[in-house]
Symmetry: C2
Subunit: 407 residues, 2 copies
């Protein structure tokens, strides 16, 4: 029998999805599972999306332009203009989700075996894309105790070699909720310029910024125009994850022209979802006001509930809809599986993503989980109730020690 | 400024799409362009597709399972059962078009620098996927004079090295319309078994087989179960190219499990299009009877019209909806561009795909074009009228010589 490829074998399973069989088992036993493991919000998709799809008269569902339907491409350009980023069609392609945008960024910027520095913990699928595109991930560790601040720029510089081609960040961050300040971005800019690197920035959570903070897009960093590649998506912005529509943006026209060649090879992004995307970009500003208020309320509730559980450590986080927190357990992978396999409280349990899968350095994040606050407050409260009860009886719990220490 | 990656620079533009700016120029001058350059049929998508999408009640457009919505995955399994190929969910994933299915096949079967033998001319985007996934294409030439028959199996065997991992064919073939016989497939089987390779088969034109011939799926080749990976798509089958729904199939469960990891990294295929795909797979059998009759009539008309033009060579072809033919010109790339830039007849011109882009060996196919018979007979007739007139006046035409020779 021919062998599976080495890279295919090396590709990790998604830490966000790999506990799914245990969740399915819990559901089969009649246990309700609160899904805090995946960034799938319960926020309604603005109705404009489906209205546009349903209004379309499509006798032949044909390919679109590889760079996206021109009116959709222009609608994205309009969106960026509204947030102060002027673009032309040479700066932006419509992609099949943010995932494909990142894939195109890697193809255009990075050769096989080249290195990409990524602060860890990071969105676990960056590993998959790296392996698929032959890039080598070089992690730089950020710490829960420091609220996942970026390390000193000297620490970044130590990791730069002749093969380093790019630094990749997610701002605000999945999985930590960290929002990087303009100051932090300017330090990265100087380093990127000094070593003539690309700065790839995943900004799919751009709108989800709280506590009066402002999001600074890397596309606005002066002097860095030829270096920045932004990966974007409508998935989170309009709660339209299943559309699979994103975009890649760069003032470096060579990057976009190269991405277009990759885009031609896969022909076109999904046509129907593009129609929905075009309509939803015009959603009234009140939509974001309401959605942000909802996420802030959830985050505040979640932080309060988590901090009430002895032994947890909950960092400050002003963006996205994730928290990466420490739990008083031996190992969160074992714990999360145990919660699904062996525990329920009032007929329910909770599913979280063990954080080790978000670190590239082995042994890190073993007592951390990523929690996505994608459920309403009432459900979050019940889920945290389950978690608190689970921690009391889990065999690997350190809650007794933690309580003793805090006394 | 940081450099574009070497592989990105090496990635070819699509030969099918690269003349688009000249076609746009012709249209801007008011010239009608008959598009025979791209496999975008004018056949209506069965109405079930859009009806299912429009009937859907989707308050939150969420991710689906990475392997596809279970009911969609099962509907594909049902489709294969009907054509005599029994599968389980461990043998099939729903993908974002056939393009992604091929990408997953390469990731799972081939490591960086490994070799894949592909009969040329081949679907040009195989080049893009190879560069993107770091595979090395080794072409084996098939000839227009031989109706693009596969070369003797000894010729294949000469190309096998320690790095050969797979043979890739498209059956029936884009761009030649060639249907491979069971006999030819059995010879490939023996070779694949002897050298423990994968056989990747693009079967997206499976239904489009004419002249009383039968399509033999590689999935039915006895003894080859662990070696065959089939790439498939609804794009052509149901004239739903813009859906971007395909699938990858293999009895080798390791291949599908590996593809699933790549599928998890990109999260899920487009949700709306999956709903349409699920509905359209149940289209009444009369749909294919009619569509096939239409393609046969077109092909017959096209072959007749082409053979009426002095100096053309038109091979026999029993499948798909393409012909690769020889034209009496110096260079088809120059000619096709000239047809768009400098020629019109009765207010119209015709766009074809120069065949050189479908060959990996430099210098081959320079006097060949791929013609997709995706327009109705009346339009095909007008298009061939344009072509005949164009050949009379094109400066690089060899039609005079050809006519003299045939006298």
């Amino acid at each position: 029998m021919p062998q599976i490829s080495k890279r295919g074998t090396a590709m990790p399973s998604s830490p966000i999805r790999k506990l799914v069989p245990y969740a399915d088992g819990a559901k089969a036993r009649g246990t309700k599972v609160y899904h805090l493991n995946i960034g799938q919000p319960d926020i309604p998709t603005p109705p404009q999306f489906m209205e546009a799809v349903k209004a379309a008269d499509i006798p032949v569902l044909s390919y679109s332009h590889s760079q996206g339907i021109p009116s959709v491409q222009n609608k994205f350009i309009e969106y960026y203009r509204r947030i102060g980023i002027p673009l032309t069609p040479k700066n932006l392609l419509v992609t099949t989700g943010g995932s494909e945008a990142l894939n195109f960024a890697f193809l255009a910027a990075v050769d096989l075996g080249d290195e990409v520095i990524i602060p860890e913990p990071f969105y676990a699928n960056y590993n998959g894309f790296s392996i698929a595109t032959g890039a080598h991930v070089v992690p730089i560790t950020t710490r829960l105790e420091d609220n996942f601040d970026l390390p000193e720029i000297e620490e970044f510089e130590k990791l730069i070699t002749a093969r380093t081609r790019a630094i990749l960040i997610c701002n605000p961050s999945n999985p930590t909720g960290k929002l990087y300040t303009k100051e932090a971005l300017l330090k990265l800019r100087d380093l990127v310029l000094k070593h003539d690197l690309f700065l790839v920035v995943d900004e799919v959570y751009r709108e989800f910024v709280y506590d009066g903070e402002q999001h600074v897009s890397a596309l606005t960093l002066e002097g860095l125009e030829q270096h920045v590649i932004v990966v974007d998506s409508i998935s989170k912005r309009y709660s339209a994850c299943g559309a699979r529509i994103g975009n890649i943006v760069s003032y470096n026209e060579g990057i976009i022209a190269t991405a277009l060649k990759a885009a031609q090879a896969r022909l076109s992004p999904p046509t129907l979802a593009q129609l929905g995307a075009e309509a939803v970009i015009d959603v009234e500003p009140a939509y974001f006001t309401n959605v942000k208020a909802e996420y802030v309320a959830r985050r505040d509730a979640l932080v309060r509930l988590l901090r009430d559980i002895p032994g947890t450590v909950v960092p400050q986080a002003s963006g996205a809809f994730y928290l990466t927190v420490r739990l008083p357990v031996d190992n969160t992978e074992t714990f999360c599986r145990w919660m699904l396999e062996s525990f329920s409280y009032e007929g329910a349990t909770v599913m979280m993503a063990p954080a080790a899968g978000f670190y590239a350095t082995p042994g890190l994040g073993l007592d951390e989980v990523r929690i996505a606050y994608v459920l309403n407050q009432a459900d979050l409260e019940k889920a945290m109730g389950c978690l608190a009860e689970g921690l009391k009886v889990y065999p690997g719990s350190k809650i007794a020690t933690a309580t003793a220490e805090s006394n």
